[in-house]
Amino acid sequence: MNGEATRKLPLADLHEHAGARFGPFAGWSMPLTYPPGVMKEHLHTREHAGLFDISHMKLFEVAGRDAALLLSRACPLDAGALESGQSRLTFFLNLSAGILDDLIVTRLGPDRFMVVANAGNAASDEAHLRAVAAEFDCTVDPLDRVFLAIQGPEAWAVLSRAGIETGALTFMQGMEPRPGWFMSRSGYTGEDGFEIGLPETDARELVGKLLADDRTMWVGLAARDSLRLEAGLCLHGQDIGPETDPVTAALLWAVPKGLREGGSFIGADALRGVIARGASEKRVGLKPEGRQPVRAGAALVDEEGNAVGRVTSGGFGPSVGHPVAMGYLAQGIARPGTKVFADVRGAKIPVHVHALPFMPHRYRKG
């Protein structure tokens, strides 16, 4: 996912002014940390409200008579059954049921949907969606928006003071509060929070208001990663990818039951096959013993030294106070309590399979 920094965020000047340290991610120069540092930024988000610039992510509007049909073909999703304002986690799958991207789809109206895609896949997602759309009567429009996330238990109160009421939304619902705006109650931290896509001029005004509230702090990509890891959420390109199907990734819950057998989305046949056969390995949470982090790429071995899996994300969890990781283990042993060993620079670090999330989700459910 890391690449050469080629693109600057529309609000880059604000991040520079805030003292951000930048680094490349998915073709963008992204704020990694601000002067308080990853630890304080992480903890502040869990206690108050963290403001993230996620404008590297892409919003697509899908509109037209066949919009629901297109999304039900492109994703394992019954888009026609979504109520207006409902959001769902879903995927683009390839013909082998590998995950091309994970997405949030929100129904905006009878014939309109918003699709939120990952930065690293934005170009291929657009090409894929347009190719599938050729069979349908609808349009796919990539939107030019600043995309902000405000996350944490005080996010709603901070937005309220800034003049944005959120009471109409519960977790995984979205709406268009103003012309050109899209706001959903969702996020990537495990906390209550919102993601807001809006035009740049409006975004500058909103950021000014949000930061004038001392409950709000800019939070960089480093803390975004530790927050999502504690919350057990996957990073595409690292924890899931075109080689991983939803069963193996322990994400089958995101595929409606009726579609697992009868669906006609791209990848449906292959997914039925995986469900029938069972996956050979499974994504799990991993808790290393002691204080030493176990990181992406580390091999997992059993007591006898046999290869049994690999770590796909790992680091330190500031809120839980211990190292946290996730990865894949052979099916028979992929259950909480199993002890394996991670190879870290030649040393074997004991690691226990741990239920996900590490940090309980605190979403505002309806």
Partner: protein
């Protein structure tokens, strides 16, 4: 009075009686961010200049710290086991990493003094 030297890899050495106390500079700890773990060396381990002596782990990444000279580790900073963030709060003091008996003090020639290091990091 101890002599303090700096390396291009952002380490400092305080040398007294042939023993160097080694740490990373304030500039280095700022670049790394909040440290959560320090993999310390065993006393008695012999290191050559350029060997990885210590690995410091931030929330996000692991980084190597190299032996700035040949010698033998005589002590590691045990306090970092419980509080690795000492390296962030006191990089040049309580956050030292290890002490080593230098095999050849002539290897210190060519290292920077504080003024030269400040110029080096701009």
């Amino acid at each position: 009075m101890a002599d303090v030297y700096f390396t291009e890899d952002h380490e400092w050495l305080r040398v007294e009686g042939g023993v160097a106390t080694v740490g990373i500079t304030d500039y280095a700890q700022e670049q790394l961010g909040d440290l959560v773990f320090v993999e310390l060396p065993e006393a008695g381990r012999k290191v050559a200049k350029g060997d990885v002596a210590v690995v410091v782990e931030s929330v996000k990444a692991a980084s190597d710290v190299y032996a700035p000279a040949d010698g033998e580790i005589v002590e590691a900073n045990g306090a970092l086991g419980a509080d690795p963030a000492l390296v962030n709060s006191a990089a040049m003091g309580e956050g030292w990493l290890w002490k080593m008996k230098l095999a050849d003090e002539s290897q210190l020639v060519g290292l920077m003094d504080e003024a030269a290091y400040k110029t080096h990091i701009g």
